[in-house]
């Protein structure tokens, strides 16, 4: 609150009288009678209130007051004029003055004017302080919003019904701008709350909780996340909302899976190799003894076995090479009828050895397609051989058949349907069959075949659709585009890519 006041009046005795009055009210009064006095005093005192007679009709003081008001906008000017100058003064100064008093100034009127001026000053200073606070608040808010948005994890704020009330940028990017939706709908595509919910736990006990979850993004990708929760309290200390922060650890989990798979691979592969070598040994033994005994039938059977084992070992070595080495597919225009015939021809021997009928229905109008013939043929053989294996392992019936259909679709895609009535797949096998090192064939599988076959089909821009029912059989539909519009894709080393291959879920039952 100002303690100083500048009194401007040509009538010095009137000024003095006012000064005495105001000093009694504990104010320090400075007196000025000319414009020069005002200017000198104004430079030396820090008054916020001026009580002035503008000395009309002379306009000099009026312009000085106006000028001072522009340079000191907070200055409160109280004007005192004789009644005949009252309107003139008001017309000239307008809002530049806070109050107009009639001369001779009465003490009550002066007190009221002083009170009003002081109120204005006080209001102004509070407004200023608030403005400053608001600026700091805006800056802090901006900073926190930036922090909230830029934190490299998903943040959501939820109410007691698990409705999202705020989400950060990363959350919006991967899960959509879903304010108002339920957390379980957005994260897990569920219709009801999850059984163990860390947010519910935090609402209950006010403590932070952590869980590991698998969530599904708006584009259908699955992420492994570690979730932390923290309570948000109101002024009374009651929990009104809970913040949930989730860190995406998918890559770490994939790396772990991959390392586990690598360990499994070494076991499964060495096991597979041992089995094949034993079978090859068996073939050689039978070949030797067959020749010794002049047993034509045994020799023939042995020869077939040696041939089959050599083929299997060759295939396994190729698969290991494919897995271990980065290579590019070599596309060339390939006669698909010829390839389909080769695929069926390759599988025929194994089918007949295992008592499985192999029926092929190859459309003669498949024509030529841009593919890498070596790898595509290997992939297709893999599907057919798997179908035969599924029949061989099936003990629930005697009559087994594998059907291979190849045709052209209306949308100019070449499709192969490989269908068997073998043992079928359970859900776990269906979900994991394209995963690296997953095998359902015990010692006879390496877990590489379908992984690579799937990869090859995908690199050709193709799709795989699988239907299967346990003990009834499986149906694989593989479709390829006729031409490769993109340049040949590089086959990455799966170990570096950290990718667990999955089937094309959109096509999969």
């Amino acid at each position: 609150m100002s303690d100083e006041i500048l009194i401007i009046d040509k009538d010095t005795s009137h000024a003095k009288a006012l000064g005495v009055y105001l000093e009694r009210k504990r104010m320090e009064a400075y007196l000025a009678s000319t414009c020069e006095d005002v200017m000198v005093l104004f430079d030396n005192i820090s008054t916020e209130i001026v009580l002035a007679d503008p000395g009309l009709p002379d306009m000099q003081m009026i312009s000085l007051l106006k000028q001072i008001k522009t340079t000191h906008p907070k200055l409160q000017i109280i004007v005192m004029v004789t009644p005949d100058q009252f309107d003139h003064a008001m017309a000239e100064l307008k809002h530049d003055a806070v109050h107009y008093l009639m001369k001779p100034v009465k003490s009550t009127a002066l007190d009221m004017a002083m009170y009003q001026a002081r109120s204005w000053i006080s209001l102004n200073s509070r407004l200023e302080a608030n403005e400053k606070k608001l600026k700091v608040f805006r800056h802090t808010q901006n900073l926190f919003q930036q922090l909230f948005d830029e934190v490299p994890c998903y943040i959501s704020v939820q109410d007691r019904q698990f409705r999202l009330t705020a989400t950060n940028r990363m959350f919006k990017n991967d899960f959509g701008d879903e304010i108002g939706s339920h957390c379980f709908e957005v994260y897990k595509h569920r219709g009801s709350p999850c059984q163990h919910c860390p947010v519910a736990d935090t609402f209950k006990d006010g403590q932070p909780h952590t869980t590991e979850e698998v969530v599904t993004s708006k584009s259908g990708e699955q992420y492994n996340v570690i979730t932390w929760t923290a309570p948000i309290r109101n002024g009374d200390g009651d929990i009104t909302q809970v913040m949930e922060m989730s860190t995406n650890i998918t890559q770490i989990r994939q790396l772990q899976d991959h390392l586990t798979s690598l360990g499994l691979m070494i076991g499964s592969m060495s096991h597979g190799v041992k089995g094949m070598l034993t079978a090859l040994d068996g073939g050689i033994y039978q070949l030797e003894t067959g020749l010794e005994k002049n047993d034509k039938e045994r020799t023939q059977r042995a020869f077939g076995q040696v041939k089959q084992m050599t083929g299997r070992i060759r295939k396994m070595v190729l698969e290991i090479l494919y897995y271990a080495k980065s290579r590019e597919l070599r596309y060339q225009s390939t006669d698909m009828v010829e390839m389909a015939d080769k695929v069926v021809g390759d599988a025929m021997a194994i089918a007949s050895k295992n008592g499985v009928r192999l029926e092929a229905n190859i459309s003669p109008s498949l024509g030529f397609v841009d593919v890498d013939p070596t790898w595509l043929q290997a992939a297709l053989v893999n599907f057919v051989e798997n179908a035969i294996d599924a029949c061989t392992y099936d003990r629930s019936k005697d009559d087994h058949i594998v059907k291979v259909d190849a045709f052209e679709t209306a949308s100019d895609r070449i499709c192969f349907i490989i269908q068997d009535n073998g043992m079928g797949m359970d859900q776990e096998t269906r979900e994991k069959m394209f995963t690296l090192f997953f095998t359902s064939k015990g010692s006879q599988g390496t877990g590489l075949g379908l992984f690579i076959a799937n990869r090859v089909i995908r690199q050709h821009g193709g799709s795989i659709n699988v239907e299967s029912e346990i003990r009834k059989g499986s149906r694989f539909q593989i479709c390829l585009p006729r031409s490769q519009s993109d340049p040949p894709k590089r086959v990455d080393i799966p170990g570096k890519e950290l990718e667990t291959e999955k089937d094309e879920t959109d096509n999969q039952k």
Binding site: S270, T278, D281, G283, Y285
Partner: protein, 116 residues
């Protein structure tokens, strides 16, 4: 003639062992999984069983456990023939663990000694 039951999921290995044992004067039966193996064992009461460890559905040790629950089967000697590393402890009471790929003469020596 002594009877040997071969339990292995790989038909090529069954073929091999069948020929090998028959060439050495034994009669053989074969099964490609635990269920079938137990059925044949109960029916034929073999003098010796060769058992693979890793097979689809149920694996070797389960076969052994189930066979030990049968009075007339529990004393039949079992030779484990497997490519599983560290599989030699899977069936503690087996007369021998033969690792794939095996030495033919060594296997026959064990078989002959067991069946004497």
């Amino acid at each position: 003639m002594k009877k040997i039951l071969i339990v292995d999921d790989d038909p090529n290995i069954i073929d091999y062992l069948t020929t090998l044992f028959e060439d050495n004067g034994y009669s053989t039966f074969s099964a490609r999984d635990v269920k079938e193996g137990l059925e044949i064992a109960k029916k034929e009461t073999p003098d010796l069983i060769t058992l693979d460890l890793e097979m689809p559905e149920e694996w070797g040790p389960r076969f052994y456990r189930k066979m030990c629950q049968e009075k007339k089967l529990k004393n039949i000697p079992v030779i484990v023939i497997s490519g599983l590393s560290g599989g030699d402890h899977a069936i503690g009471k087996a007369v021998a663990f033969v690792s794939k790929p095996f030495d033919r003469e060594n296997l026959m020596k064990i078989v002959k000694e067991t069946l004497q």
